[in-house]
């Protein structure tokens, strides 16, 4: 069974703090993703990574950065947290697969509140 874990289930931070969200997968997947999930807006892709030290911006990268130093770990960084970054953050991993076999595996999510 693929396991994707996230370091915290709930997190409360103050405006201006630097925030680290950690994600670890145990299935040797090349691809990892960070989304935020907001009511009425669905899942929006923040950043993704296709290999170690490789990253690409998603649809809403502003205010975020990422780090992937090891294959199994993908970190999301909020350089200076703001209240509009209060959200549920989901990490996912996937292996490249031929047509019809693609699947993303999600972590349990981190609910971040910025006060």
């Amino acid at each position: 069974d693929v396991k994707v874990t996230q370091s915290s289930r709930y997190l409360v931070k103050r405006t201006g703090e630097k925030v680290f969200l950690e994600c670890v997968q145990d299935m040797d997947h090349e691809n990892m993703f960070w989304y935020r999930q907001d009511p009425g807006l669905g899942l929006r892709l923040i950043y993704f990574s296709y290999d170690v030290k490789m990253k690409e911006k998603g649809d809403i990268p502003e205010g975020y950065s990422v780090s992937r130093e090891k294959k199994e770990r993908f970190s999301l960084i909020l350089e200076s947290a703001s209240t509009n970054q209060t959200s549920m953050y989901l990490c996912a991993s996937a292996i490249w697969a031929s047509r019809g076999l693609y699947e993303q595996y999600f972590g349990p999510g981190t609910r971040l509140t910025v006060t």
Binding site: V4, Y35, G40, G42, L43, W96, R99, G100, P108
Partner: protein, 112 residues
């Protein structure tokens, strides 16, 4: 840009009633579509893929290229079907990699 549209934020039905969650996509190529589901206090997980033509937990979804739709259907809803449902399309990138484009989700509420 590719888009996946789920027009209903909330769908409320009674147990035993038929259910149809709508999904439309905009994509000029050959789509690869999925339904993901998130039950209360559980992680998001794959429900079904269009290419598999499978029925999972009584749900089916048919790709209609003419209408660019991939609606999720179940003939008789159960209370345990209450969840958040997301439609997604696999988007190839010019780098050769892939990403999922998700719709905004539909919350299904099945009442006894």
């Amino acid at each position: 840009a590719q888009r996946v549209t789920q027009p209903e934020k909330l769908l409320s039905v009674f147990k035993g009633a038929p259910v149809e969650l709508k999904c439309n996509y905009s994509y000029s190529g050959s789509p690869e579509l999925f339904w993901y589901v998130q039950y209360s206090r559980q992680r998001l997980q794959l429900l079904l893929r269009h290419i598999s033509r499978e029925s999972i937990k009584g749900f089916t979804a048919d790709l209609n290229k003419g209408e660019t739709s991939f609606h999720l259907k179940k003939p008789f809803a159960q209370e345990e079907d209450s969840a958040m449902y997301y439609c997604a399309n696999l988007s190839p990138l010019n780098t050769g990699f892939q990403k999922l484009v998700f719709g905004t989700g539909t919350r299904l509420l099945v009442s006894p």
